[in-house]
Symmetry: C2
Subunit: 305 residues, 2 copies
Amino acid sequence: MKIERIPLRGRREDVTLTTYVLDDSAELLDGAARPAVLILPGGGYLSCSDREGEPIAMAFASLGYHAFVLRYSVYGESDWSKPIEPRERSQYPRPLVDVGLAMREIRERAGEWRVDVDRVAVCGFSAGGHNAAMYATNWDKPVITDAVGEGLRPAALIAAYAVTDYVDVVERAGEMADRERTMRLAIATAYLGTSAPSQEALIAASPALIADESTPPSFLWSTAGDTLVPARHSMRLAARLADLGVPYELHVYEQGRHGLSLATQATAGSHGDLEPRPADWLRQAASWLEARFALDVPALSHWER
Amino acid sequence: MKIERIPLRGRREDVTLTTYVLDDSAELLDGAARPAVLILPGGGYLSCSDREGEPIAMAFASLGYHAFVLRYSVYGESDWSKPIEPRERSQYPRPLVDVGLAMREIRERAGEWRVDVDRVAVCGFSAGGHNAAMYATNWDKPVITDAVGEGLRPAALIAAYAVTDYVDVVERAGEMADRERTMRLAIATAYLGTSAPSQEALIAASPALIADESTPPSFLWSTAGDTLVPARHSMRLAARLADLGVPYELHVYEQGRHGLSLATQATAGSHGDLEPRPADWLRQAASWLEARFALDVPALSHWER
């Protein structure tokens, strides 16, 4: 396995692509390219969570895919419990353009890493799920193509308890308990530069409102127990994809709070992150993905010919 | 993740320990040690198969455990289809002592790698399963302690379609088809230096005949369809552990040939290595192991306190 941490914005140390590139072997794919998964951790655009980085890379690498973890532009604060002042660094479209930079890097080094560039999925969690969905709905739009040149089409989107509708984030913050309302408004401020953005800005930041025919097949999951980013975010994106005829799959598990990651001990920050039923999502996603990302396993090995 | 390839026998490049050490994070175990799995690929003591190395490390790393892959002393030939001349390098007890060297290295660097040395499992496949079982039954015996000092007790053995009984390997070779008989005798020659070893040598090389009360809890699996190393090898070790009162678990799946590894696309060398039902073994092993190797997940995170 080749681990490399690549800075994507010059000297800035916070925007990096970490590679988890599987070794080649004559006994396995013998030089053939593998599909890959680009992973975007969550953290409300305030930080990037380790709980949704390397452990997710391990999960996809164990399925035979190269994995990459992108730490995109964030506010740089992990205390969500207080109001924040706007900073430029985490504002739209920076975190989205970072995904474009990561995809460009993967395409440019695909030969060296043996990546099948036609089969690169983006997979994000919470705000990372939003960022992944933003890339999935903007990869061929000027916000990406003006910044990084021709965008690499993601072959699939995998989004976990993702924010998909910023109109909802801001408009319905009033319904929430104090602490969650403060968190929501911090997320809006970090990404949109104000806790009271224009309607136009909110729509441009809402994959559930802007997805179109060029959005790739999508696997969405959430939990009914999520009070910070309610499952309706995933359902709204799913409904739009259904209207568009874009293939999608949606799983909403009854139990479980926001931010479960794998929902196993491999990613648990505390006991509340251990939830056996939602932990099923990875198996479902693996099976869904394998239909599109089957490896080029030879019919017969050298030995059998 | 920290990848390092460590030579265990001075300048020899063939005996190496490759680390897959998970990153620490304040959001996860926050400095607490993790259990680890030492992986021994198979290959009939003629070679070490890539199909049972890094992909297995990924599988255990995805469960939250550090993983290590040991390439132990082998004959250095991957064509099993012809008789071979004895060479010293792959002969008992060298490959076994290599496991002792690997365990010593893990113990010595446990602080740096944050390994819980009381919870290190050995996990092997085919000949690697034999080697793992040999370590599990010899870790406190002179063959190890004379060579490497106090042996590190493995907390568990995981052995896949392992050779456990060399008496059987040699005595019943006559029952086999030509090609498999040649392979069996090559395996005996590589490990014991002759295709007609003494009964004493055969017994010393048979975990199913020498396991005792200090053998750790064991998870064994095989397939009824395995004609090279029949499932009775796993059953014999299981029966001895049952007699001894050592905890064990045994799964013999009906379908599947020898050498399935994960039985998924992640490890398939050809279509014959894809077997959905035996692919269940990893989930079973993970659940069995988690009862002993539960991570020290805090009841409440910093955030929740």
